[in-house]
Assembly symmetry: C2
Homo-oligomer: 249 residues x 2
């Protein structure tokens, strides 16, 4: 984090254990990190991020603008748990989008917002839309476009902290079949890009794969692509864990 700037702000918010001395922190653990004041967090991606959000309500922390998925769950916990931090959460996921479509709207939907933390989950449509014949892409195109997008981002916002979510396909989901074995290449590409740009990486695919030991795909992610609220809860927990790590670093 660019702590120096934040430290000169109105002060750092101490967080505490849930159920401990203060009700006002979602972040757990005895050495829970501080959340800098005024942190601006942008969520970018496709339908999983969009989650039916009211796109006309695009202001910071707008309830209906968060959609009904992992972004809403994260924002509710962050805002509810850290009322003095003046956090600003934005959701700019758009259903159906692939990396190049993020690039097309990056000026307005990322750079102009000047996020401190940029969380991106993109890639499932880069593969899925090929199966349906609606798109002609490849792992190389996905990886190249993604890296280019992040390079452009880092150039415009050198201090931005990146969080990249692993694109996932949940085995047993109604839309998932053998053709999805090749999707592994996209997941690996996302992880390489995350490493290249020193981004936090959230291993959603593995998280869902592990969760299948506890309940079937229908419970977590009925079609294998779009999580249920229980699946979005897993994403929230994993995201907050990485976010907490980021705030400590």
């Amino acid at each position: 984090m660019h702590r120096r700037r934040f430290l000169t702000d109105a002060g750092l918010i101490s967080t505490a254990v849930l159920g401990g001395t203060s009700a006002f922190s979602r972040l757990n653990g005895e050495d829970a990190p501080t959340v800098p004041t005024g942190l601006r967090i942008l969520f970018q991606g496709d339908s999983i991020t969009d989650a039916g959000r009211n796109r006309g309500n695009y202001y910071a922390n707008a309830d209906s603008g968060m959609g009904g998925g992992y972004v809403y769950q994260i924002a509710a916990d962050l805002l509810g748990g850290n009322p003095e931090a003046n956090l600003q959460c934005f959701n700019r996921g758009i259903s159906g989008h692939k990396v190049f479509q993020l690039a097309d709207r990056w000026d307005l939907d990322c750079l102009a917002l000047k996020p401190d933390v940029l969380s991106i989950l993109i890639g499932v449509n880069d593969y899925w839309h090929m199966l349906g014949g609606r798109y002609d892409g490849s792992v190389a195109v996905y990886e190249g476009d993604f890296a280019e997008l992040l390079e452009q981002t880092k150039k415009a916002l050198p201090e931005v902290q990146l969080m990249i979510g692993e694109p996932f396909a949940v085995a047993g989901g109604t839309a998932i079949d053998d053709q999805w074995d090749a999707f592994d290449g996209y997941r690996a590409a996302a992880e390489r890009v995350a490493k290249e740009f020193d981004a936090a990486f959230i291993p959603y695919h593995q998280i869902f794969a592990d969760a299948l030991a506890h309940a079937p795909a229908d419970y977590w992610c009925p079609d294998g692509v779009h999580p249920s609220m229980a699946g979005a809860h897993l994403m929230k927990e994993a995201w907050l864990k990485e976010f907490e790590r980021l705030m400590k670093s």
Copy 2:
């Protein structure tokens, strides 16, 4: 809890500390309780509970059927954290409703569902609609109707566990003015009814009052009646705490 029945079921689910050995529990604390399998939880109330839910999607654990408020946040955490518990969550809140309107639809929207845990938050409209001249009521009518509803419920479902939420009005909200001082009587009545029926009581009004020390009403509950996602997060935390206590008892 009617533990005996649950103990003969497929087994009790152990829960663990968040960030501890298991990712699969929302319930915190070293002596976190077990959640019985197959528990059916019904949320009843007005617009705060309804929260724009898709009423056509009335099945258990239906994502869009949970709405976008505290019920969604609770259900997501419970279902995501306890995948083997076979929990069933239902939301039957309807915007604008007062106690007598719950009574009108109680057979279908409560008794037929046979909940193990019944969570009710009702009362703000019993007062608010009087201010607007749309309703002629009183504390006595509210309390009498509420007690009658619970008596009927206990008769039909003798083992049901009751959780009653304190109706609240958040000072500083755009819809709240001096006329709302008289609303205190309704809050006190809800607490008396909770005591009479040995129900868990969730002190939402005090929780919001305390939260105002950390951020203004606009942050928690812009109009003083309908919580933001941050406000719904406070409700979730308080509800889960009472629920946890109930599971231990």
